[in-house]
Symmetry: C2
Subunit: 366 residues, 2 copies
């Protein structure tokens, strides 16, 4: 715990942290508000210009009839699944074993909505058409996460995605997208967010991942579904008198980051290649398909941490703020890399120097 | 609808709107953030200095072991009631027929938590000890709203409140306070927020009513209950990566408004007395017990609106932004008055002039 704090501190103090857009501090919100006139009226329980304009623009961007701003993706997605279950009169949905709803939400879907989940595919791969074809019959909705975050941000081929979508439509199974990082996969697919969303009945995107806002989520779909989602938003306690702090920052940073996704993707591919040249290091996926990947280093934590601290001190590069270990103290380490604005500000030779040093230290480590 | 919009517009444009703290615009948040250094780190899913410090201070203020910041009171209260139901192994709670949970939350408590509600007392009066004594036996928790907003902000006598609290403790019934406007009743009771909270097992307060923040709520109680509430907060989708926009503004405006409650209360009593001198006008309660009351004017809407517009134009005073009618077009009108910062900025003679004019117009109205 103490050592981990040291790594976090060293990362924060590094001249060149490689991951993310920047610090998550109050300045992020201040900058967004500086662009807005103080006389702009607050939204009011889901109504008003601030929220309605933004929702309309995001609906257009996602190629859907309507969109609703939610305080969180957790709330937005449970509600989407609940609506599909009610409409299909079935209380079961299917998703990946490492789905956000399964591992990060204290089973709100089950506890609040009494919806059962069927887990598809193995933990370490994405859901295939075959998995979907073999689902039990009484599934109201299938959730696909693009990209599958917990396994490094992997994606199905676009043709497979189209085939899954066609199969679900044919079977009357609703298809929902966990698109927390949807914008981040548009370069790899070579498709717009709207084109990808067209394959789905409902789409959630996060406004604070690649987009870089403070918090919040968008749910998009047909108008009647979105109207129903507002009733559930009220029930969840998400229909706040004012959501504008999140909306204004989402809007501001969307405009800054939306057109940068190609660059983040290219930089992730570049950095992953450098990692894969290091002794005992692999990335998942080997070649990223978005702005993210996972780094696996086959060295126990107590040996790796001093190495990283040495690299941060010598090069100024912060590679990661933490190390995860899965099966105990002597197991390999893992961390997530997400490329944002910071990466482009780091000189290439400095990055190369840091990775070379990592390679050298790992080669000589006992 | 069109005329109502006109009244809203006229109120907004009035030199002297009498109700509230001020406009709910983006400047409210900007002012709060101007007092904060941009390098302050965001909270992170319920952890971090920003949220923990604020929660600790509010726990102290309310005399409870712990407090949790929620995006909304809707979420905080459903969760409090859910925890009490789980602990008492009963799925029924009791509250007033005009309780927020019964009329403003799309029955989230019933739809999400499958908790039934038993309605106590008549709509037009507060819950008494007798009502509580006559409750069915299988009630996990009683919710009391202080003050009862939908009937003008009425309160039980403090002795009655103490007796209800003692009865519930004795019977093993948990007592929860909807204290959305708790601070606003401390002057009438002559008690601190902590003294009143002591009578309750859990307490919710809003941070954007009298306190004047942007949005959000505090739930306070024993430490183990608050820890459990964090799990439910996650399930509801309220455990946001960043709640600091609401926390920082709640903190800033608490410091500005907390010590003004005595004044708002006194001003409400003063203004209600002026209203009661007008022909065909009564206030509920006749003598306010907080910073709020309702105005009942026994004139149909289509006759009253032109009178109000005339008064706003002639005196610059905005009395209300809306008129409610309950039983049809020719029924009397009703609106809520909440005293905040604005009232003290209006010259007394201007207020008196506006109310005199209201009296005169109502006397000659046909």
């Amino acid at each position: 715990m103490n050592e981990r704090k040291t790594l976090l501190e060293a990362f924060k103090q590094a001249d060149y942290p490689l991951t993310g857009h920047g610090k998550r501090d109050v300045q992020v919100l201040k900058n967004a508000l500086d662009a807005v006139d103080g006389s702009l009226e607050s939204d009011h329980y889901g109504s008003g210009q601030v929220i309605e304009d933004y929702q309309n623009r995001m609906a257009d961007y996602l190629g859907k009839e309507a969109a609703v701003f939610f305080p969180s993706g957790t709330m937005a997605q449970q509600i989407a699944l609940r609506i599909w279950c009610d409409r299909n009169q079935l209380k079961r949905v299917a998703y990946h074993p490492l789905c956000h709803l399964e591992i990060h939400e204290e089973h709100g879907l089950q506890e609040l909505h009494r919806i059962e989940s069927v887990l598809l595919a193995d933990k370490d791969r994405v859901i295939t058409l075959e998995d979907v074809q073999q689902m039990p019959e009484d599934i109201a909705c299938l959730l696909l996460e693009l990209p599958q975050r917990e396994i490094g941000g992997q994606l199905p081929d676009y043709e497979e995605l189209e085939a899954i979508s066609a199969y679900c439509r044919n079977q009357g199974i609703k298809l929902h997208m966990d698109g927390a990082r949807l914008l981040e996969v548009t370069p790899y697919y070579g498709k717009s967010a709207a084109e990808i969303s067209k394959l789905f009945d409902s789409v959630y995107i996060s406004v604070y991942k690649g987009i870089g806002g403070v918090a919040g989520a968008i749910l998009a779909g047909d108008r009647d579904v979105m109207e129903e989602s507002k009733v559930w938003k009220r029930r969840h306690g998400g229909d706040l008198i004012s959501l504008y702090p999140y909306i204004l920052s989402a809007d501001y940073y969307f405009n800054q980051h939306e057109h940068q996704m190609q660059r983040y993707y290219r930089e992730a591919v570049e950095l992953a290649a450098l990692y894969n040249e290091c002794h005992g290091v692999t990335t998942l996926p080997e070649v990223p398909v978005s702005n993210m990947f996972h780094v696996h280093i086959h060295v126990p934590k107590e040996k790796l941490e001093p190495v990283l601290l040495e690299i941060y001190a010598a090069t100024g590069v912060g590679l990661t703020s933490y190390l995860s270990t899965e099966e105990g103290a002597s197991s390999p380490c893992r961390y997530e890399v997400t490329i944002g604005d910071r990466y482009a500000g780091v000189p290439t030779e400095v990055i190369q120097q840091a990775l070379r040093m990592l390679d050298e230290r790992l080669r000589t480590l006992k």
